[in-house]
């Protein structure tokens, strides 16, 4: 039997022929960029996206380019600055207005109804896209099986879908910032998670991605609530309550939970305002989970807040989520004490 050929431990520079590491991004001898052709193609893609006014596509191309450049190079620094600038144009449009995107241009023409239809079509497509991934589908089935044994298939299905919609909110936010992400992976009893494949460029970006999940999760809970109001079936009230609880839990500003990502963008004053909103909602609802979220918010408010400029949008989103989710949790579920 012929032994397999040895795996090469070195490669050759395409320019000068010097030996380079297989994972090297540039040649130490002549500084030739190993992925020059791919970088040129990505730059062309980014320029085309710029012409089309598609900020997300520009970000996507430049972020991939960053992974192919030596971090100390001036090209890396230039592109990183560009990524930060483009990202800021999305998180704070008044600071650097981006060119009108194809999507929003269409929305202008079709009006409010058109925007709503466009939203449902694009987000609905994204929701279905996530289900097409084998890892998501099968881990989702496993989670469904575990929850089924506890709560029955109907509630288990609703619960798993609520978690799925929450995760796809993160995926949608990552896509908006041009970051590639893994498909959601379910862990029964724990929830689900996704991972961005590239680092985020700003804390504002991190806050939008972090809160994207609870915002979509809130939409799912509100949907359940509206069905409950229409049908008066206790099942939908229970699902509303469960959906609100998992999203409120995720707003805890600790570890890698969504609230922690949001708090990174808030300055000290904004953190105190967030803590105050939580306190007011606790006084109104007496929901125990809010005490936990509130204590952690106060701890974060005492800590150094590196982003002194703050992020008003993140604060409004966080406060809005706390208020609406707490109100949904206060809603009585028929048949429970």
């Amino acid at each position: 039997m012929t032994p397999p050929p040895p795996v090469p431990t070195t490669a050759r520079c395409p320019q000068c022929g010097a030996a380079i590491e297989p994972t090297a991004l540039s040649c130490d001898a002549c500084q030739a960029l190993v992925h020059a052709d791919r970088l040129k193609a990505l730059a062309a893609t980014a320029r085309a996206a710029e012409t089309a006014g598609d900020v997300s596509a520009q970000l996507e191309a430049w972020r991939v380019a960053l992974t192919l450049l030596p971090p100390g190079s001036s090209q890396y620094r230039s592109i990183h600055e560009r990524v930060v600038s483009l990202s800021r144009s999305l998180t704070n449009p008044s600071a650097a207005p981006p060119a009108t995107s194809a999507g929003s241009r269409a929305a202008t023409w079709t009006g409010a109804i058109g925007t709503a239809v466009l939203f449902l079509v694009t987000k609905g497509k994204l929701l279905l896209l996530g289900l097409s991934k084998g890892s998501t589908f099968f881990s989702m089935l496993a989670a469904l099986g575990v929850y089924w044994t506890l709560w029955g298939w109907k509630f288990a299905l609703g619960f798993v879908l609520s978690i799925y919609i929450h995760e796809m909110g993160h995926v949608a936010a990552l896509r908006r910032f041009g970051v590639a992400a893994t498909a959601p992976m379910f862990i029964p009893g724990f929830g689900a998670f996704i991972r961005g494949k590239q680092p985020l460029a700003t804390v504002q970006e991190e806050a939008r991605v972090g809160l994207g999940g609870p915002i979509w999760g809130l939409a799912a809970a509100v949907g359940c609530f509206l069905i409950y109001v229409t049908t008066k079936q206790p099942f939908w009230a229970a699902l509303t309550h469960a959906g609100a609880m998992i999203n409120l839990f995720n707003l805890m500003p600790i570890w890698q939970l969504d609230g922690d990502h949001a708090f990174k963008a808030l300055n000290r004053t904004e953190r105190w305002i967030a803590a105050a909103v939580i306190g007011v909602m606790f006084a109104f609802t007496t929901e125990g989970l809010l005490i936990l979220v509130g204590i952690l918010a106060v701890v974060q408010a005492f800590r150094d807040a590196p982003n002194v400029e703050g992020d008003r949008t993140a604060l409004i989103q966080f406060a809005g989520l706390v208020i609406t989710l707490a109100l949904l949790m206060k809603m009585p579920v028929p048949g429970t004490p």
Binding site: E21, C30, Q31, P70, P71, G72, G189, W255
Partner: protein, 202 residues
């Protein structure tokens, strides 16, 4: 962005910047896990990660890990008292706390010894988080002679609860994985010294 060229990497007039001291590197440099370092920083990194950890390092890691574990155990009780929820997910926070503390105590070193230490301390911390509940539910007649059976009972609890609730078992597993991950050995691939030639004239 039109001024950018992608044929050769440019490192500006200052040349490469050391990832450690953030100063321009004059002359040769070292590549550690894909990033450039100057000779002085490379030497410092080699010294910090080289050699066998001593008894003092282990004792500090043990002390820090026990402290973090105690905080983690207390966290369960405090949160349950405040919110009324016994959150299984706290096992992950305990693993995180213990793993970080052991790593800190070991002076940033990782390795199998510290990984086992962190996992054991995390498990013990999770098990002993039930201590206040057991004491509250008892008639208060515990003596010194009960310490061993009580400890054995507590150490078996996560497994017993896990067998009844797969959720808890999965989350405890993730907590132990966090502790294991944070104390993993750091793999350093050091290349160099690398001599950079001036770019060829076009």
């Amino acid at each position: 962005m039109d001024e950018l060229q992608f044929d050769r990497a440019e490192f500006g007039t200052a040349g490469r910047i050391c990832t450690g001291c953030q100063q321009p590197i004059a002359g040769d440099y070292y590549d550690i896990n894909g990033t450039p370092f100057c000779a002085a920083c490379t030497s410092a990194i080699r010294q910090a990660h080289g050699g066998t950890p001593g008894g003092a390092d282990f004792a500090r890691a043990l002390g820090a890990g026990v402290g973090a574990g105690a905080v983690g155990s207390a966290l369960y009780y405090v949160i349950e008292r405040i919110s009324g929820y016994r959150l299984s997910i706290l096992a992950i926070a305990v693993g995180f706390l213990v793993g970080r503390a052991v790593r800190w105590g070991a002076g940033g070193r990782g390795g199998l010894l510290y990984q086992v230490l962190a996992v054991v301390l995390t498990y013990v911390a999770i098990a002993f988080s039930w201590l206040p509940i057991v004491l509250e539910k008892s008639d208060g007649s515990f003596g010194v002679g009960d310490l061993v059976p009580l400890s054995a009972f507590l150490l078996a609890l996560p497994i017993r609860i896990g067998l009844e609730s797969p959720f808890a078992l999965v989350v405890i597993g993730i907590g132990l994985w966090e502790a294991w991950k944070f104390t993993a050995p750091v793999s350093l691939a050091i290349r160099g010294p690398i001599t950079t030639m001036p770019p060829a004239a076009p």
